[in-house]
């Protein structure tokens, strides 16, 4: 297909009335890529820390997620057990290795196994890289301790998020990912932005939650943990 490649690039250059960008033009374009600048960031994405948490919760709830707040990470199992019991849901958890250290066994009602999701796991529990206040969006990264399928296959997705990880705008997460970039670049294989549980309105515009992904998204916000 290199013939197609050459043809397409030549057509583009002919249409733009030039050859490949000059060294000077290319340098300017590389600068734009190497030091990316944000464009317009809405004021609502630039609020300070205490207001950010409130905004994140409000926006996540607007998108039909539910949110529980706990003081420390040790309180998470109890909050999860309470949520599952209150909603009549099975208490069998498939947890991401990243959150396997949480003392799940202290809640005798829960049984937790770490690993990837199968088609029949009812509840998946994961951590999150960040929460974005402007739209109540969770940012999850794939990796050896956080398989992507856990975010999508189980009927109920529970996300444990340290309140300190809530940022204002999407661009804040790009900045921290770039700062931590290794040899594979700033991004893992998959970055998932998740805003509420899965849904469809494809039949007569009727909004229904629980299309192919989770029917419920529950966020457990940990106040006293710095992430």
């Amino acid at each position: 297909m290199s013939e197609a490649r050459a043809h397409i690039l030549a057509t583009i250059r002919r249409a733009l009335g030039r050859q490949a960008p000059s060294a000077e033009q290319a340098a300017a374009l590389h600068r734009r890529l190497d030091a990316p600048e944000p464009n317009v960031i809405p004021a609502r994405g630039q609020v300070d820390a205490p207001a950010r948490i409130g905004l994140f919760i409000a926006e996540a709830e607007r998108a039909d997620a539910t949110v529980a707040r706990v003081a420390t990470v040790n309180d998470v199992p109890r909050a999860v057990a309470d949520y599952l019991a209150a909603n009549n849901l099975p208490s069998v958890l498939k947890v991401a290795p990243a959150v396997a250290d949480i003392p799940w066994s202290e809640q005798t009602a829960l049984s937790a196994v770490a690993g990837v999701a199968g088609g029949d796991d009812p509840v998946g529990v994961t951590g999150a890289f960040a929460g974005v206040a402007e739209t109540g969006t969770l940012v999850l990264l794939s990796g050896p301790d956080s398989p992507t399928t856990l975010n999508f296959l189980p009927d109920t997705h529970i996300v444990v998020l340290a309140a300190a990880r809530i940022v204002g705008a999407y661009e804040d997460t790009w900045r921290s990912l770039r700062a931590a970039a290794g040899g594979d670049g700033p991004l893992p294989r998959t970055v998932n932005w998740i805003t509420g549980p899965s849904r469809t309105a494809d039949i007569e515009q009727t909004l229904l939650l629980g299309a192919h992904g989770p029917r419920r998204l529950h966020i457990v916000l940990v106040d006293g943990d710095d992430g």
Partner: protein, 474 residues
Amino acid sequence: MEATTRNFERNARKALADTKLQEALARLSHGFPAKRRQAIARLPEFEALRDAARDIKNHVLENLDFYLERFETRVGERGGQVHWARDAAEARSVILKICQDAGARTVTKSKSMVGEEIAINDHLEANGITPVETDLGEYIIQIRGEPPSHLIAPAIHLSKDQVAESFKEKHGQFPKDRSLEEPRALLDEARTVLRESFLEADVGMTGANMLVAETGTVVVVTNEGNADLTMSLPRVHIVIASLEKVVPTLDDAATLLRVLARSGTGQEITVYTTFSTGPRRPGDLDGPEAFHVVLLDNGRTTMLGGELHEMLRCIRCGACLNECPIYRAVGGHAYGWVYSGPMGAVLTPVLIGIEHAGDLPNASTLCGKCEDVCPVRIPLPRMLRHWRQRQFEGNQASAASRYGLKAWAFLARRPALYRLVVGPGVAVLGALGRRRGRFRRLPLAGGWTASRDLPAPEGRTFLALWRKRLAGRP
């Protein structure tokens, strides 16, 4: 698929008489536009974001070769592969080869308009591979053998009974007497059926909302989560994308995402926005082993630098369809091919040839609503006028409109003659219509008066009135 764009008039007549379709279109007209307005009301920066989105896309188009090469380099560095395809046939054969090399029997797909454009499903099926659409709306139209009727809501033209009928026919594994009256029951049945396909597929194929040059990343948005299951469960992930989807940086992607869902469904953002970069990494517990991106041109590079250059900014949100009085009256199928509404009327002639586009450039009142709501400010009415002009110059317009326009142009360029002809005509019509102020029926204007009255002229032409007013000035 075979284009029936040439039959727009016949298609439109049929659509207007289809009561089920009219009910569906009424639901659409009340849904998306109001939600869009509400979302925008919550975001004071929306107009500034539209400007920024337009500027990003303009910058990309000016440097399209650079950004495509950079995207390709980054994809390669992360272990993926980019394939270039000049046209639909090349794209189809690249995709088929990847599927065959992977020994694929089943391919799950998340909704892709480019996939529709190149008719990839038919090609895979003809070669013994089963493609399964996983977006609920797209799944419904796949089992009914229909094209999508809307950019983001492909089954918008159907009622729930029609869907239930199709499911009863297709899903023989369930009891015949089950109730499928509620949308919930239909969704749950599709979810059960498709869950198996997700788990057994060998290849997952998705479209792309954006390609990020900075990192070699593919961005896909959905509300259902079907694209994520499509790309994370099978061994191979194929992305099919048209080449104008490239954007420079992740920050630029964030800007476009802020206008995309708000313009389309009126959501603040889609439920799932997924950034995929290459195949699974060492140590990853899931994700595909291979990652391919097929970059499709299919005539788009011929739009660069020409009258339709700005159409390449389109991000496929669907806002122009939702607001268009013609789309809302006749629905997407009347347009006769894959793309519909104002964006379809502009784009389809490029992709299938203006000689096959029939009346599409006339499928508009040029009211300008599409341009008003376009998140990247594409001057769609100007482009529709461009195609009308091309049809006129290419002698493709109907004889009546050609001669009519020629006669009018002849007069309009000769002011004295114009006044001589138009003045008495207006006077006669004015006198005839003075009593009622309008005409119920008028010779030569039957097309107009069939469905509404023609207002009667006041008796004097605008020019005559203007001259009188000037003369009367102190």
